[in-house]
């Protein structure tokens, strides 16, 4: 056996930099550039790209919690979609009760109406997430088969409970007055709400990135994803950390639900299950457990959905699956495979 010995570090030498895998970062810009000649018209391309980015951001907000929870505790919550639907339905209730604020065309007043809706959605979704984790997931830690079954059961019950409270029918969720309409950038028309969605998405991504990369909490979470037992043996209670991440993930799903509902302008109890498929594809593309991969995956799915929706609507329905297969053929574990898996 002649495996090369690992290089020995001198005391004053800096730690070797982690190798940054840049290739996946190029995928989203490459896709956007590739689409430009196919679409042909620059203004249309701008419109579609902004729409794609907005959709990608919303998907990322929803999916990020799911992938972190999986990375940290090896638990995949098939009931994640319930929190999306819950957030969206709460938004209809909150915005519905503030009709004169949402009817106003002033952007500021509108934001004042949407903000409480988002806060309520995040708060309630987080609280329900806590109960969900304690009641449903906790007893089946470490048992994959049961986890899949039980979270699916949680999804069924949650969806039915939403129907009990809000009724089974589709509820319209109109955009507040100031978000309606489009801005003209040169010749390209860009819907205002999509810009808002991109901005909120970037804020969430930045906040998350900051927490994960620059705080001790984030350090522990990242370390936990890499090697849970090691973090535990250093005296940290990974379970508490995990509950925190789970609640945050549920709250983000609630926020994403509000944004998705406003994006679609209506909400149905089944929307959770529909978005679920999308976010599973995204986190598989990104590599299970990887936040960065999840971000790139979400952008790719959002952009591709809008480009193909314009170029070939029939193909658009399958573009996600096609994308997933291509990515998995290239990197079978997703864009950024998490080390221990």
């Amino acid at each position: 056996m002649s495996t090369p010995a690992p290089p020995i570090l001198l005391a004053n030498e800096a730690l070797p930099k982690a190798h940054l895998d840049r290739l996946p970062l190029l995928l989203a810009p490459a896709l956007a550039l590739l689409a430009l000649p196919l679409i042909g018209s620059f203004p249309t391309w701008v419109t579609l790209t902004v729409a794609g980015l907005a959709m990608g951001m919303i998907i990322f907000i929803i999916a990020s919690g799911l992938t972190l929870v999986f990375g940290l505790m090896d638990i995949l919550n098939f009931g994640h979609g319930v929190f999306i639907a819950l957030g969206a339905f709460l938004a209809t209730a909150v915005l519905g009760s503030m009709a004169d604020w949402t009817a106003s065309t002033s952007l500021l007043v509108n934001l004042l109406a949407v903000l409480p809706a988002m806060i309520v959605a995040m708060g309630v979704a987080g609280a329900v997430g806590y109960a969900f984790e304690r009641l449903i997931i906790r007893p089946v830690y470490g048992q994959h088969l049961k986890q899949i079954l039980i979270t699916m059961g949680g999804m069924i019950v949650g969806e039915e409970l939403i129907k009990v409270i809000w009724g089974p029918q589709q509820i319209p969720l109109p955009l507040p007055g100031g978000f309606k309409g489009a801005l003209l950038l040169g010749e390209a028309a860009v819907e205002k709400y999509r810009l808002v969605a991109v901005v909120i998405g970037l804020l969430v991504f930045a906040a998350m990135f900051w927490v994960l990369a620059r705080t001790k909490l984030g350090l522990l979470i990242r370390a936990g994803v890499q090697d849970r037992e090691m973090v535990e043996s250093l005296g940290y209670r990974i379970e508490r950390l995990f509950i925190g991440v789970f609640v945050a993930g549920s709250a983000l799903a609630g926020l994403g639900g509000v944004m998705w509902g406003l994006y679609q302008q209506n909400v149905t109890p089944q929307m959770g299950a529909q978005v679920n498929v999308l976010i599973f594809i995204v986190i598989i593309i990104g590599g299970l457990g990887s936040t960065g991969g999840c971000f790139i995956g979400a952008l790719l799915v959002g952009l591709l959905a809008n480009y193909t929706g314009f170029l070939a609507p029939k193909v658009a329905l399958f573009s996600n699956i096609g994308l997933m297969v291509l990515i998995l053929l290239w990197r079978p574990q997703g864009l950024y495979p998490v080390a221990k898996r």
Binding site: I150, I156, V164
Partner: protein, 353 residues
């Protein structure tokens, strides 16, 4: 002789035996004891779903693989028969072609999905199948020239199986011997044969290996069994049986559309039936399917009574909770409780006591 028929896998519980015999007799004699179209429909649906649920149990209960694409194979079977009979006319050749074609497609597709994703872990497979199944559902509703889109396909069966056909003028035991009766018994006999076949599979040495993989795949691999091969085979087999169940459903309904055979709701139903009946027991499929479908068709009436009584008494919130459309809520709760407290379902419970 009887034990050979059941592949040496007896129910092993007196209550269970009684329940199974009652179910089997009830299904066998359904046209004679029950009057009207609805009970016969329920009985036929139970037969089809016993096969479907048992085939899912082969995968979930015996091999420990969670797939959400099981209705896809069920749908392929149903669409295969529907498309063949619509295109080639109502004759036996078309029926055979439909069954053979859909079976071939299912086996190929399940082999591909299996080889592609069964190397990795259970969760990965569950997610991939969820995505593939939803894409397939969209595909089926988009190819409307071929599949009839959302409306589905109505088709005619060979003459012997149509309600207009009559075997004899005089009714037998008060039941007219028409094509409907013949198709019911066709469905019933086919279901029994398929079920016994699956019982044979899980009690063979091959079935034992599957159970070993479920319990500890690492150890099974260490003992020299190539788990990928066994998992893929189990996946292919279960897809094949699901396809045949689909063909039976299409035969019985003389109609097929996305909602009858392909929708995600049916996938959820199958999951509930397997878990409530008892995973990894085969007989659980019989009890689970029978209970669930009877509940689906008759529990709602009961709930309607309760709900109206409560609404009359002024308790609207409670009335909403037991509104007949919310029956799935209660089955979902039952499902979660059974995963926790009796993971082997009704059958496991009965065998233990």
């Amino acid at each position: 002789m009887l034990m050979r028929l059941f592949s040496g896998d007896a129910p092993r519980s007196r209550v269970l035996t009684v329940l199974l015999v009652v179910t089997a007799l009830g299904l066998a004699l359904a046209p004679f004891i029950l009057q009207g179209a609805k009970p016969l429909n329920v009985a036929a649906k139970i037969c089809v779903f016993i096969v479907l649920v048992a085939s899912f149990d082969l995968l979930l209960g015996y091999t420990g693989i969670v797939s959400f694409a099981h209705t896809m194979f069920f749908g392929i079977g149903a669409y295969g028969v529907a498309i063949a009979l619509t295109r080639m006319g109502p004759n036996w050749g078309a029926l055979a072609a439909g069954i053979a074609g859909s079976l071939a497609l299912s086996l190929l597709l399940s082999l591909l999905i299996g080889l592609f994703s069964l190397r990795v872990r259970a969760i990965f497979y569950a997610m991939i199948t969820l995505a593939v199944a939803s894409a397939f559902q969209t595909l089926a509703s988009q190819l409307s020239d071929f599949t009839g889109g959302e409306d589905g396909l109505n088709f005619k069966l060979p003459e012997v199986l149509t309600p207009g056909f009559s075997l004899s003028e005089t009714p037998f035991l008060g039941v007219s011997l028409d094509g409907k009766l013949i198709s019911y018994y066709l469905v019933f006999v086919a279901s029994v044969v398929l079920f016994l076949l699956m019982l044979r599979v899980v009690n063979s040495p091959f079935g034992r290996v599957l159970q070993a993989i479920r319990e500890n795949d690492f150890r099974a691999e260490a003992l020299g069994y190539r788990t990928v091969v066994y998992r893929t085979l189990s996946n292919v087999l279960s897809a094949g049986f699901a396809t045949l169940a689909g063909t039976l459903l299409a035969l019985w309904l003389r109609y097929n559309g996305p909602d009858t055979s392909l929708s995600f709701e049916i996938m959820i139903d199958i999951l509930l039936m397997v878990v409530i009946g008892g995973m990894g027991t085969m007989y659980g499929a019989v009890l689970g399917a029978a209970l669930f479908i009877v509940a689906q068709n008759y529990l709602q009436d009961l709930m309607r009574l309760g709900s109206e009584a409560l609404a009359g008494a002024g308790a609207t919130a409670l009335a909403n909770l037991i509104h007949p459309d919310r029956w799935l809520l209660w089955l979902g709760v039952l499902f979660i409780l059974s995963v926790y407290y009796f993971p082997t379902g009704i059958v496991g419970r009965l065998r233990k006591s």
